[in-house]
Subunit: 476 residues, 4 copies
């Protein structure tokens, strides 16, 4: 039993949605596949990685057509839009970001036309020397049209002394530092590359003779493609009419895979390093149960993110699992009138307690993480007002005390409740009767991903890369 009787908050839910998802397809000439449609389906499966913008760029014998919009994939693309996107290759992207940069000019794929040729880029991650590189390029007369790290790569390619666009891209990736899982499309090739630490997921699949690249394996499942393998840290893969080639463009450092992909980001049916995500989360819940001895009548998840660990927790502890909180399926861009003073309204728009289940019970409430503590506080108050006798909080991650520089929004991270407060203080703040975080060792032991090491910087402050090496920039 690790950190009991303490506390912290959660809006990681909000923040964690700031990731991106990428997808690419290269159809062999013999396959009759509709590349735009496959990308549409793949992005739909990756929608959880970003809901703000969606884009698909197709390549029809060297002619690029790019369509992007600020909405869900299924709203940006209708039948007519998809029919106009014809070709033999496609790259797609979904994105979420902070308000400041929520502009169409920041939507991806980013398509540029330079002396090296047309280039479409779809990017998940964050460069730590992005700002520095950008300043250097501007110094030499480059004009930027977005705040994307991706555009830094595009300018590096345009100015590279290498004539060949693939070589220019490889050369450019050697210059940037940070987290990136990148899909690039040139006039004749589809390229996938992963940073030397492997922070963000990226995998290769195959659909008959066609190659598919995607952030997560769930995008292969929806189109019936087979998952071949994960792309390795520091690897660049080039697919064109000569087939598929791979090389390492830089030093091979050990994996520093983002552990939050297993805790929260990735979709439960995805497989990373051979490990199914849902099963990992259930095991984290079982481990959390082993680390606490709080007595409770019911285990209740904060839906949806707390469900898998709550199921594991219930299994291990023998405490009955109950759906004591209902999630409203229709929460969109709900507008809440500021004049309306209704208690807990903000949380009740999303989550509703079932009084007849909760009343008079000692509840062990499970969530995946706490960021600012605001939502946890509201949920616990809502539970108590619905009649809960005690509310004990269990968290499927250690305290998040340090900002992430590799793809999560850091602007809100100053507000990390665990940065300045002890677990007791957090527990007190959110009004829980106790607060249990899983230990870092327990967490890592729960995930059996072959050959994967993990970045735990947000818990420990041990950054695998960055602080000494350049200014952090902020893009996903």
């Amino acid at each position: 039993m690790a950190r009991n009787y303490f506390c912290q908050d959660e809006n990681l839910i909000d923040k964690m949605e700031e990731e991106c998802g990428v997808f690419g397809v290269y159809a062999t000439s013999d396959d009759k596949v509709d590349v735009a449609n496959l990308t549409y389906l793949g992005l739909h499966a990756l929608q959880h990685r970003g809901q703000e913008s969606a884009g698909i760029c197709v390549n029809d014998k060297g002619e690029f057509t790019n369509r992007r919009g600020m909405d869900l994939v299924t709203n940006v693309f209708d039948e007519e839009a998809l029919e106009e996107l014809t070709g033999q290759m496609a790259v797609g992207h979904v994105r979420y970001s902070t308000t400041g940069s929520s502009l169409l000019s920041n939507a991806q794929p980013l398509v540029t036309n330079s002396i090296k040729g047309e280039l479409a880029l779809a990017h998940n991650g964050n460069l730590v020397n992005g700002l520095e590189m950008r300043k250097n390029l501007e110094q030499r007369g480059s004009i930027f049209h977005s705040t994307l790290d991706t555009e830094v790569i595009a300018h590096l390619v345009a100015r590279s002394f290498k004539d060949d666009i693939i070589e220019a891209l490889t050369h450019s990736l050697q210059k940037v530092k940070g987290a990136f899982s990148l899909i690039a499309m040139t006039e004749d090739s589809l390229v996938a590359a992963r940073d030397p630490h492997g922070f963000r997921p990226l995998a290769i699949g195959k659909l008959e003779d066609s190659y598919i690249i995607a952030s997560e394996t769930c995008a292969f499942d929806i189109i019936g493609a087979e998952h071949i393998r994960d792309i390795e840290p520091g690897e660049i893969v080039v697919i064109n009419e000569e087939g598929i080639k791979s090389k390492y463009y830089g030093e091979r450092t050990p994996y520093n895979f983002c552990v939050f992909e297993f805790i929260y980001f990735a979709r439960p049916d995805s497989v990373i390093g051979g490990q199914n995500v849902q099963l990992a989360r259930e095991e984290i819940g079982r481990q959390l149960a082993r680390e606490t001895d709080i007595e409770a009548d019911l285990v209740v998840p904060v839906p949806s993110s707390g469900i898998p660990s709550a199921l594991g927790f219930a299994e291990e502890s023998g405490v009955p699992y109950k759906k004591g909180i209902l999630r409203n399926r229709y929460v969109g861009r709900t507008f809440i009138q500021p004049t309306q003073e209704i208690r807990n309204l903000k949380v009740k728009i999303k989550l509703n307690p079932i009084k007849d289940i909760i009343e008079g019970k000692r509840i062990f409430l499970i969530d995946d993480s706490i960021v600012r503590g605001t939502t946890s506080k509201q949920i616990i108050r809502m539970m108590k007002e619905a009649g809960a006798k005690e509310v004990h909080m269990g968290i499927a991650s250690p305290p998040v005390a340090y900002p992430c520089y590799y793809g999560l929004d850091t602007s809100r991270r100053q507000e990390l409740i665990a940065a300045e407060n002890s677990v007791e203080e957090i527990c007190d703040h959110i009004g829980a009767d106790s607060l249990t975080y899983i230990s870092q060792e327990g967490l890592l032991a729960s995930i059996e991903a072959n050959g994967y090491g993990f970045c735990t910087a947000c818990f420990s402050g041990d950054y695998p890369i960055g602080e000494g090496e350049g200014k952090f920039s902020l893009e996903c």
Copy 2:
């Protein structure tokens, strides 16, 4: 154990969403409540009862403003729209319907201005003599602008020999037959009425001194209102500056409440006749377990509708509960390219199996109902392709063999698989290893709603009203 080793299908999921939800508020002069905002929140809580159109009509000292749109509540109304809706009373409506009548002119509230005064109507249910009444009115020179049953009531009011609009409305309700839970707003009163059989839910709540009317109690919870009581079959309630008055406008027949509200329609946190819906569904699951002796390794729900009964089933049977199917949260108006031949694509857009959980297991799959059998067939095939050793299907309702004339879409009901096929045939059709429906007695025994009797016409063909009494019409 009732009907085992047989089968049927489910698209009831689709069909069941064709209900409507109604909401009304009357603010006392002392309360400073924003009636449009309360209605917005109430309709948001009732969104599961209809996603096609949403509308709010406010009454500001006798002046009506009505705004309707073909979308979710949160999309139809933004901050600006709500600010323009000021008043002391409001009526709101959410609706789903079949394609044919999916027109803005069919969205509600319906507002008419006749010699009796302004009248806003929001209606849930279906009149069985609606078409007959409509023809009679047209014969006498009335001009209709929609295909709504609600407009029949509006014309009856306009032509009533009673001068007072409330009396004219009461008089009109005596003439119509069928299912209706109605909220009406006149220049000075808010009126709520329920048909003599009480087919559809309707309840009264209170927020300080203001009165609230809603289809379900979950709409009270979100705004912090207190649930006072359900409106009785045959009762009409009038709220105005003289206070609240109630009377019975017709004969009081026993309750024939739609049992599907407990099986599928109503929100799990709502309370009907004192019975919480989620708990009723868990009990139905427990009863289903008692009625079968199939051996299985795992209980897996078809999300989201099968979850509560699967939890109850697992509890009673001791078979472990597992989330073996994931539901994609972002399913909107997904467009599926007809040219793309991907196996099980239609179902995979919504539901995704978790292979590592399912593989090699005997699965007891639980859903709430089967309508056409198409979706069940696809899910079972998908489960088997994901490696399930056996797939046994359990259904939390008896076979749906007869169309509903009281508020569900009957146009698709010709396709009811249980109308023409035995349970064995259905089981065979959907490809399950066994099929178990709960018995009607078991179902009814699981629901402890005080004083409520149930309409089970869709299982038994015993229609409480209708066939001999006039033509059925089709509106929700």
Copy 3:
């Protein structure tokens, strides 16, 4: 020389645009004409009669499709919209109205479906007993959905004791009083009717074997149709597969044709009663010249409405005609920032003086009419600031001192400057050096329309119908 040295203003320009235009086509089965396209072109030619809304209803073997929008014809209908409008008959309408009633629900054609069958109505004019009839219908239980006089006719038809829809329509027209030029479309017939005074224009044309009905002959010219004759006051014409039939549904009173159609409304290339409108306006200008002896260096029109009479005036008087004022072709819904204090800005958005022409000259400025005087005042001030030595104003109509109840917007008419002021006072108000109105006799003598008498109520207050006969209502 009639009324010299006096004055009045003009915004009749604005007001006069509140007319409507109607168009109908009946294609014989042998003609392969695209009725929607002909109606589109006809309405385009009639666009000057109303710019606020446009609508086309087609009839395809009894099935009606109606499309209306709040914009110019060419914006409401694009290629796709027109392709969806197929049939053998069509009715179209363009409309301008005051802000209050500027709603889509007031756009025409009005289509109603009653016991008599489907009926589409397109209407130009104003009923003087419209309000009275409406109240009577409401008393008997009719529900109205617009503020249109046209809807009164629709309800009269629905309630008529005549079973046949044409007879019911004829019967209804006998009950209404006022100005109307009406086109009606039933399931099998196209009907055109003109009120017994013939206030508004209406003509029949022929395109090969197909019949065309239109407000003005310019709508025949654009489609290459031949103008057969004008429809007579009190005449109703029915066209169907039995051919064309005509009868008089009421007493035949002499023509009281709106003289403002010749002064301002009608398009210059239209022919009414055999008289070309442009030539009539030139003759009015010549007559105005005969009635004044003001000395001037240049005759300058207020464009566009003053151009024809200025040309006639210059010809008769020998004073040179000059385009001293330019009209901006791109005036749409220009937004003028209220904070910007620029002299004469409102008029300069539309009209611009050419300083090098005006400077130091005595200008005889010609406009068609003065309503409120505001615009005239601004134009004269603008001319003087541009260097005009003297500005004498000549008006191609007598003072407008009385409101119109037959199709013009009367709500602004309280502001008629000539209602309360002498010509000298008006001249003083607008800042002209002199003001000359044409005399009523001179005006009427200038127009040679065979068999046509004129309504001059707005000059004389002699209303051919109305004041004793019922309440005025306000619709166009």
Copy 4:
């Protein structure tokens, strides 16, 4: 009398609208002027120079906000849009172009953010070495996002070895060749520059202490600003808090002002080189009369472009001026059904003959120019079908036989009828009874613009710049 009895065509009307208009304002700190509103009004006055896109960029203490749209100024900007555009400086642009480049990415002002700072550019004209410069920049790694010549200038500025942005801009203008009237806005200065030949107009005005730059003086008139002087060929003017400074950035060549600005482009109330445009056009008409001896009953202009010269022609010749053709004011993006076979439909959508004026007469028809001859042919046919006895065509410009490389669309110029045909052949083609072009000497003698020389390349093929000096590029 010059070229009589011959012919040529006109669609110059269409083509000539491919110009651009520019506007800029610098407010002194003491003036309380709304720069966005002034720009809106100025662009409205310049709308005739381009109707495809409109844009305004404001500068609020160094912060730029740019709004552009594909529509008329009054449609792109409404009250809300203007209110959001606050600042002390503004630059605006209106544009028309060929279909190919009709994209929002080609709308101006073009705003770029480079190492030199923010820069907004609004540009009228065409660079003859634009394509060459662009290729050179791309070779060095610049990435272009539009096909605009303007972007070439932006990249030259970003890469200039001069640190100061004004110096970098001056330096860049020395490198480009062709026609340009440019307004630039930096963080603290407003800059105006005109190419060394002065092909396109550009003038400075003053509104109290604020400076205004505009393509034409009509933009000063609408806002009440005073016209100070024209900007000289090769001059660059910088306005900032130190006041206004001017210098010549290149050699001063004599004026080669586009003569078509006087014939067609410029607005009649504008003044260029001290010459009012309307008066110049009237004088051109008088000169045309002196150059012909054709006998006719009436002079009729093709509206609107032929009106001023027709007035001058009538005055000089004594032949009566008549409005025999009416122009439809509501011609927008009219859609003409391809299936409808109506004679002369395309021209009748815009222009309508007045039969009662034309019939039996010998018409002298006047237009400003003939390009392809298609429209002239249709108009003449339409006039003859309306009963004209003879149609003689007079053109207010010499034959247009050579494409323009300085700002007009050259893509259509291959189709110039005068390039390959004699005047007799053109006359025959368009079906006129005679065709008279004004002589080049007569044309130039009619325009008294102080110090201005003219480019007559489109008549003579004598290009002041270009053919030997680099590739032509195509932008306006």
